[in-house]
Amino acid sequence: MRRLPFALGLIALVTASSAAAEIARIKQSSGVAFIQRSTQQLKPVPGFQLLAGDRLVTGKDGRMSLSFVDNTRFAVGPNSRISVSEFQYDRTRQRGSFVTQVDRGSLAVVSGRIAKSDRDAMKVRTPKTLLGVRGTKFIIEVAE
């Protein structure tokens, strides 16, 4: 009988890790915008589920907005190339790590639970700088 809770715990873990594959959902997009996933270019329709490693790409009139599972929110401006290079989140403990790389373009961020969980658990990399996010709202712009 004592084994049962353990077995249930295992099932919960498996469910949690398969659900953790989804890191964010697209809320809106307009103009030329796509998600680059390895060699595929995917259309960011509302509800589209992002995975760690995905790159957000917009053209000169393109925009995208998305919400992450830790409640972080992004708005991506035109002419952007932004990768979510690392995203890990433990929903139960509300901790994780989150690295975004802004190669060019503009990004507005409202940070969520990962940034609150540990100092510099959320980082943003630009071509010249690595920033640690300490719970806040900000805009990064990288000119070409």
Partner: protein, 195 residues
Amino acid sequence: MSWKYLPAAGFLLGGCATSSLVLLPDDDGRQGSLAVLEANGRPAQAVIAEGNSRTKLGDATPASRPLGEKGLNAREAALLTSLPPPARSFLLYFDQGTVTPTTESQAVLVQLRAEIASRSGPHVEVTGHTDTVGSETDNDRLSQQRAEEVLGWLASQGFDRSLMSATGRGERELKEPTVDNVSSAANRRVEVIVR
């Protein structure tokens, strides 16, 4: 390349490196900060903490300027406007041992339905909880059933199941801390987060 193009080339090279940061207060008025951990490939230790400021990035010790009267430019303002709305949380309560929301919580279900319908590309996380009456195993099952019940109701209202997930946390996350085998209306709940 003729000499005529040199100034333009110089401008492009200079422009290539330009990154800037605008730091704003949180929606609740609090001010967070950003740390410069690396600049030009070298470790750095600066902190940018001044709200409503603009900072050119690249130096190990960047200087921030207040946004001043001009405030945000049109591009920045448009970017902020396109941010998704913040996540919203709903709490539903249950009578002891049941999977039926209390009468008061039926009204919350209606608000919840309206909130999901108002969002583009919504994501709904349903998490069930119990009080400490009964065994852990039974409570794991009951909390999962409560979450499934709410998810099932939302599905019956026309929301696609792929938008939603249901998890049971049993008696692990008490809202009102109690010892074992204590009935608590505050702990018999389902939390729904809508993003």
